[in-house]
Amino acid sequence: MDLGVAFQITQTLLALLLAPLLMGWVNICRAWLQGRSAPPLLQPYYTLQKLFYKDAVLARDATRLFRFAPYLILACMVLAAGIVPTLVNNLPFSPAADVIALVGLFALARVFLALAAMDIGTAFGSLGARREMLVSFLAEPALLMVFFTASLISQSTELPSIVDRLAHQEFAIHPSLAFAAVAFWMVATAENARIPVDNPTTHLELTMIHEAMILEYSARHLALIEWAVALKLFTYLTLGIALFLPWGIAPAGDLAALPIALLALLAKLTVGGAVLALWETVNAKMRLFRAPEFLGTAFMLAVIGMLVHFLLEP
């Protein structure tokens, strides 16, 4: 149990520390692919440090909700990172929440961000909140269908059980998971405010979704939100890994498997980040009201995955 708690804390801290690195890696890859000179790999850390040192500028009318939200959002993401098995399976905190609770956790963070965006009462803040909630209600059914497919195979909505079933028991090919994986990728890009639904590097306010919500934040509050965003991307990628490429995650209590697990994780994240950069380079941001079609496609893919499971994988 004590070892488990130690693993739990180590893994969560590792996620917290690695998340900005992943962000830096994605940015580098994208710069390379777009023919720009790349920022340093550690640039997100420098940015965070700079933001933490600055004086926070708050709007005069900001309520406590506005100041409290960044802390809560980061806490939600840390909690989510603690639930997803990245290095070791069957961590002591995992049974506290299954994948459905994980969706609830992301929703909690999102609702607080949207409320905080509406707090100051600026035009862009409420615009961003509205769009973010729009994207989320389209994405959530698709995300849940993906989880349903995975949980039908392993007869569980617990991530440790899913990983255990897919990685540590006899190897089987599940065609349904291929559909689910594509759907998951589409939903993940939408939920993380990446191209084609949103553009994280945009400077054009009228097209913003996520960025419009955090326009009024500065200094340490902004740093916390940026960190939470990086952690969310990290958690989504590790979630995808746990669902579709779980090989390498160490079984509970297997110390010898740890170095391999760490190497496997780093390799998968490196590839995942590069693929994300490639995806963002070859796609263009779509109009907001095309997002329902995009996420509808993701939903249909996930449903097809589920039907494939019923028909082909008795």
């Binding site: 909690l79 049974p95 409420s126 615009l127 449903v303």
Partner: protein
């Protein structure tokens, strides 16, 4: 004295308070300071009786009042007990709130309101205790009429009279269906009054055809009360019309009496169930949930928005009911237990969070006199208590962990996940996909609640007069605090509450829900499958928040500069540039435009004082209700041709009738 005597005593107390209110109608202070607190105590006592009744065996009581051959039958079992807790728990908070809320009401009106209010409470309690069809229908009518008079409290406003009439009409169409349903269900010896006790109905063997007829009639009748689409049209009219505590009780508790009735008839009175009943209820429930939440998203009146959201929640509960039936008929007792738990849990949750939200709108209404969200905004700054307590309700109803809305949603989704185990072909493939509708509705509910809270409580005040808004009084805060605490407790201690519900499951479907998680964690069926521990969840989340807060403050500094909002450097922003309620609902109107009929008046480009008007109307009203209303209008117009005001014609009518009757009798 057993528990049933106590429950009956509380009902009598409420009736006594109702009569007493008329006696002291000249002393409003006494009505507020004595009658309403006594009523609230009664509610609390009723909740206590319900709690004790959960673990006690069913008890019956026959009172020699009522019809000569049919004395009043009362019965208190676990199912009644559970709904008594729901009634008492929610009514306690709402009544405490009402003590403060009706402070400024004229004395005569207040006494009348107190009378109808206590009769309403007594009627609802009697519905839950009745054990024969006659007592049930009388209680049902008392409940409907008392709530009608409560809805029309401000009857000098024509729109409120219209809303009240619509409510009364649909309530009675539903009541007629229930009456016929009980007629179909009667026990042996039709025509004898004793055949209409519930005991006689329980012991009767029905044919499949008549059982289905009875179920469909009950679904129609109770659906009319619960707001099942397409019988929902009265809800968005009646809820905004009623005073806020009354809306809270109607939405939180009265709709649940219909759920109680549906459960009572289907699982207790009927001796057989069919899977297609479940499929029908599931389909109707999902349609109701989606329809309700889409319309909630486009509303601009805050109480109307909450009324539509109630329709959505009733849809969830009915979907759970349908799924329970499907599992139960399929012989999957454990899964039926899971869905039944989810639906009961959601009923209880909805009573608390919807009660909280409705009374919260009462505070806003008192402070600003405004129901249109487009005029509100920024109330968090002037009404911090209301603001923070409403935030609890909003998070709970949006289904966010660790509050209570999430628990029932989680249980329901777990149940949906288990549908592939069904033996019926096709059904086991289609129903898991239908779960996506539940998630869509739940995610849309979060959208609706961000809109509701953001537009009313956050942002800048849209109307300068609102800056005079004042915080609500102490009884109001106390009542809201009770309801918010209910949301938190229901959210944080699910395993205890699920354990306490076990006798209800035993009563209805003779099953237990196994919880493998212990006291800290819910793990229905097996811990390997799914588990959720809200207390751990909350503790860890709170401690991480605290750690991050202390860490940031310790390592860096806490310096803050106050400045004007940045808004991308645009200097001339004003409060009208924020999203209004219509603006926030625009994406929903765009995507789901097929569901609604949108009327818009757009200003011309050269208008000096541009005005925008948009209204999204219910298509079902125009498809189903309008033709019927027009037809009855036309028919009564035709019938009025008979009226001439000349005595000769009326004599001819009498003569013709007499001839007709003579011919009729002689045959």
């Amino acid at each position: 004295m057993n528990l049933l005597h106590w429950a009956w005593g509380i009902v009598l107390c409420w009736i006594g308070l109702a009569v007493g209110g008329l006696a002291i109608s000249g002393q409003p202070r006494l009505v507020r300071r004595l009658l309403l607190p006594l009523g609230a105590m009664g509610a609390l006592a009723l909740a206590a009786v319900g709690t004790l009744a959960l673990s006690a065996p069913a008890m019956q009581l026959v009172l020699p009042i009522g019809l000569p051959e049919l004395p009043l039958h009362l019965r208190l079992d676990a199912l009644s007990g559970f709904f008594l807790i729901l009634l008492g728990g929610a009514a306690f908070g709402v009544t405490i709130y009402a003590i403060g809320y009706f402070r400024h009401m004229p004395p005569g009106q207040l006494a009348l309101l107190s009378t109808w209010y206590h009769l309403f409470l007594a009627g609802m309690a009697m519905v839950l205790l009745a054990d024969d069809a006659y007592a049930f229908m009388v209680a049902w009518e008392v409940m409907a009429l008392a709530s009608y008079f409560l809805v029309t409290t401000d009857h000098n406003i024509p729109a409120i009279r219209r809303a009240g009439f619509l409510y009364l009409l649909i309530a009675h169409i539903g009541a007629v269906a229930l009456l016929i349903a009980f007629g179909v269900l009667h026990g042996p010896g039709a025509g004898q009054m004793a055949a209409y006790t519930f005991d006689a109905m329980r012991q009767t063997e029905h044919t499949p055809f008549w059982a289905s007829v009875a179920f469909l009639l009950a679904l129609f009748g109770f659906g009319a009360k619960a707001g099942l689409v397409p019988l929902h049209v009265w809800l968005p009219e009646a809820h905004p019309a009623a005073p806020s505590p009354v809306s809270a009780l109607m939405s939180g508790v009265m709709l649940k009496t219909a759920i109680y009735g549906l459960l009572r008839v289907t699982f207790d009175l009927l001796d057989m169930q069919f899977a297609w009943w479940g499929t029908l209820a599931l389909a109707l429930g999902l349609a109701t949930a989606l329809y309700g939440v889409i319309f909630a998203a486009v509303q601009s009146d805050m109480k109307r928005l909450l009324a539509w959201s109630s329709i959505e929640n009733i849809g969830f509960i009915l979907a759970g009911f349908g799924l329970t039936l499907i599992f139960y008929v399929d012989g999957k007792g454990a899964l039926a237990a899971l869905t039944l738990t989810a639906l009961l849990y959601h009923s209880l949750n909805h009573a608390f969070f919807k009660g909280l939200l409705f009374v919260g709108t009462g505070n806003v209404l008192h402070a600003t006199g405004e129901r249109r969200m487009g005029r509100l905004g920024g109330l968090m700054r002037y009404m911090p208590w209301t603001g923070w307590l409403m935030l609890v309700g909003v998070l709970a109803i949006a289904g966010l962990p660790p509050l209570n809305g999430f628990v029932s949603e989680w249980l329901l989704l777990q149940a949906f996940l288990l549908t592939p185990g069904l033996t019926q072909p096709y059904l086991n493939m289609v129903i898991p996909v239908a779960a996506a509708l539940v998630v869509l509705a739940a995610a849309l509910a979060a959208y609706v609640m961000v809109k509701f809270y953001g537009v009313i409580f956050l942002g800048q005040t849209r109307d300068p007069e609102i800056k005079h808004a004042h915080e609500a009084g102490r009884p109001e805060r106390l009542g809201m605090l009770w309801l918010a605490a209910g949301c938190a407790v229901l959210g944080l201690f699910p395993s205890q509450i699920i354990d306490a519900m076990a006798p209800v499951l035993q009563t209805l479907i003779h099953q237990n829900l196994v919880n493998e998680g212990g006291w800290l964690m819910v793990a229905p069926l097996s811990a390997e499958r799914a588990s959720y521990a809200p207390l751990v969840f909350l503790t860890v989340a709170a401690s991480i928040t605290l750690l991050v807060f202390i860490g940031v403050r310790r390592i860096y500094h806490g310096r803050v500069r106050l400045a004007a909002p940045w808004d991308c450097g645009y200097p001339e922003q004003d409060t009208r540039m924020q999203d209004t309620a219509e603006g926030f609902g625009q994406p929903i109107r765009h995507i789901f435009s097929a569901f609604m009929r949108v009327e818009r008046e757009l200003p011309g480009p050269f208008d000096r004082q541009p005005r925008y008007h948009g209204d999204s109307q219910d298509r079902l009203w125009f498809l189903l209700y309008k033709p019927i209303a027009d037809l009855s209008d036309w028919l009564s117009g035709q019938a009025s041709r008979l009226q001439h005001g000349r005595i000769q014609w009326y004599l001819i009518y009498s003569f013709a009738t007499l001839i007709f009757l003579l011919i009729f009798v002689s045959h």
